[in-house]
């Protein structure tokens, strides 16, 4: 009986003959048994898949609960002060999260300032300007950039980008902005090479492919009729993008940008290599700093004492909460553009 079913589905052309052939061979008693077994298996499989789906939910729940549980000692010891203290002293066991949170936000902001215009530009290029033959290769190349593991960006940033910035870019920035009031404090101090600016730059390169590929995908949801109509009344390519495509896809683009932001906030290895790991808030972008993830990566295995470990886990919890909301907002927006293109 089993064999009969096997044959029928394997053959793409199920002829009536095959069914007629198969049926008489199976006595009615067997049929009931086999059907019962199938129903049982179906019931089992249905519940197995549902259990797997629920397990995925439980994993997220587990992540949150375990982080909360792990950070309880630190929460009890420091309370809300954890979020307002800058000092990070493992010896006296005084921990505050201001410096890592500040570093995380600033590096991500730099990354966004660089990567958003660039990513949108590349996406516009890919959907509107690029010769058809090049479209696929360039798209693939950008996506390969997304596939490179973050540790590779880290080692490259440390040995190639940081020395380059230190030698050429940072001295130029310092001397260029020397007389301008606000900018000079942003670019003050010696050019270390590694620091907040370098980390932000590496992050920008890392999130660029995400922003590009999502923007390209949402740009492609614009109905061609809209673009053709705009071109028909005499709009230039840029005006079509600026006044038709971008307004139409605004929600999706913002969603893509937030997705990139979520990546930048949580990125660990690339930043750990080039940020310099200094627990202080400095007004200069050239100074070394730290981010939440870099602090955890650098110090976790060396942390002695429950309170130190717990403080690091609480940092992880803060990071998770921040990225959770950013990613949730991003998904929500992308869902809206999907509905729009589906309707």
């Amino acid at each position: 009986m089993e064999a009969g079913f096997n044959r029928q589905t394997r053959d793409n052309s199920v002829s009536d003959l095959a069914i007629v052939e198969a049926t008489p061979r199976a006595p009615d008693v067997d049929r009931g048994k086999v059907l019962g077994r199938m129903a049982l298996f179906d019931f089992f499989f249905h519940n197995l898949t549902r259990a797997a789906a629920i397990l995925v939910l439980l994993i997220l729940g587990g992540v949150i609960l375990s982080l909360v549980y792990g950070s309880l000692p630190a929460i009890e010891a420091f309370g809300l002060g954890f979020l307002m203290t800058e000092s990070w002293n493992p010896v006296t066991e005084k921990f505050g999260a201001v410096a890592p949170i500040y570093g995380t936000l600033v590096t991500s902001a730099i990354a966004m300032i660089v990567a958003v215009p660039l990513g949108l530009g590349i996406a516009i290029f890919l959907t509107e300007l690029c010769p058809h033959a090049l479209r696929r290769p360039i798209g693939v190349a950008i996506e390969l950039l997304a596939g490179i593991p973050s540790i590779i960006y880290g080692i490259w940033g440390l040995f190639v980008l940081a020395p380059f910035l230190q030698q050429y870019v940072q001295p130029a920035l310092i001397s260029l902005t020397g007389d301008i009031p606000v900018l000079s404090s942003l670019f003050a101090g010696p050019p270390y090479g590694i620091g907040v600016l370098t980390a932000g730059f590496i992050l920008a390169i890392m999130v660029l492919p995400f922003i590009t590929s999502i923007s390209r995908d949402v740009f492609e949801t614009v109905p061609p009729v809209l673009k053709e109509a705009a071109s028909g009344v005499g709009c230039t390519t840029w005006e079509v993008m600026r006044y038709v495509v971008i307004p139409y896809t605004r929600v999706g683009v913002i969603g893509g940008v937030m997705l990139g932001l979520g990546r930048a906030l949580g990125e660990t290895m690339a930043v750990t290599f080039v940020i310099g790991n200094a627990h202080r808030v400095s007004s200069s972008l050239l100074a070394p700093g730290t981010t939440i993830s870099a602090t955890i990566a650098n110090e976790f295995t060396e942390a002695v004492g429950d309170l130190y470990t717990s403080a690091l886990i609480e940092l992880g919890l803060i990071l998770f909460v921040i990225t959770f909301f950013v990613l949730a907002a991003a998904r929500f927006m992308l869902m809206r553009i999907e509905q729009k293109s589906g309707a």
């Binding site: 499989f45 898949t49 789906a53 995925v56 992540v63 490179i148 660990t268 690091l312 990613l327």
Partner: protein, 279 residues
């Protein structure tokens, strides 16, 4: 007429900026791969694949790190793939319109881009802190947690692409849903699901952050998964930040190996998925 020429000018400026932006963006890929090949290939020799990671100042290879990475990745994928496939199956088939599916899809998308270091902390508190020591098992578990969302996503997407008439035809033959899935839907979606698994492998094989405090590192050859296990990314991290020249060289070589593996995987995945959109 002057309005027209200023519009033309804006257009030229904007399109030129898009061109330069693309060249700028692509040049990073060239620069990074160039540096990797230049620095990494210098240290490439047979010893890299046959000798253990050395103490500073002596020569050696990356054998234990490569083996550790392979073993943990394989276990992680073996654990994560079935779970991801089952969950994806539920979302695309049994519970396509249920509330649970909506929630799981949302949560899964968040897990998909959640910071991997957080996953490391999760496994640390659940496994490492309980057991009391770092272990290869914990590392593999952390990788499995990273594999799951990728596989869930692609399985669901690929099953949704399977045309309904195929399902209906199977149902008309009297096949229960589970049999239809096994014999029709999975086969139709096979290359897509394989693509997802390959992408998941590509993703975890470069992961460092979750391994730092789960599998830690091991200077020596070890087949004991209950003890710390060395892995390529963690060795790269440790060696690159060290002051020793020969360690840094090994880090570059390791980085080249990881990148080549990851790029090969993602190119294969891409070739597979473009070969048969559904089939």
């Amino acid at each position: 007429m002057s309005l027209y020429s200023s519009r033309r000018r804006t257009n030229v400026i904007a399109t030129t900026l898009c061109w330069t932006g693309t060249i700028f963006g692509l040049s990073w890929l060239v620069l990074i791969l160039g540096a990797l090949i230049y620095e990494g290939a210098r240290g490439l020799s047979l010893a890299v694949f046959t000798e253990m990671t050395p103490p500073p100042g002596s020569t050696g290879g990356l054998l234990n790190a490569i083996a550790g990475s392979l073993v943990m990745t394989v276990i992680g994928v073996l654990l994560g793939t079935p779970l991801g496939m089952l969950a994806g199956t539920y979302m695309a088939e049994y519970g396509r319109y249920s509330k649970l599916t909506m929630i799981v899809r949302f949560i899964n998308d968040i897990l998909l881009s959640a910071p991997s270091i957080v996953v490391g902390l999760f496994v640390y508190t659940v496994v490492v802190a309980r057991v009391g020591h770092f272990s290869g098992i914990a590392g593999a578990l952390a990788l499995a947690v990273l594999v799951v969302p990728v596989v869930v996503r692609t399985t669901e997407d690929m099953l949704l692409l399977v045309p309904s008439p195929l399902r209906e035809a199977a149902a008309a033959l009297g096949l229960p849903r589970s049999h239809m899935l096994m014999r029709v839907a999975y086969r139709a979606a096979k290359s897509g699901i394989v693509t997802g698994v390959l992408l998941a492998i590509a993703r975890v094989s470069g992961e460092t952050a979750p391994l730092l405090f789960t599998s830690l590192n091991n200077q020596f050859w070890s087949t004991d998964l209950n003890a710390p296990v060395s892995s390529l990314p963690v060795v790269i991290f440790q060696f690159a930040l060290s002051p020793y020249k020969d360690w840094q060289q090994l880090a570059w070589t390791g980085a080249l190996l990881v990148t080549v593996a990851v790029l090969l995987l993602s190119i294969t995945a891409r070739a597979l998925s473009s070969q048969g959109k559904y089939k």
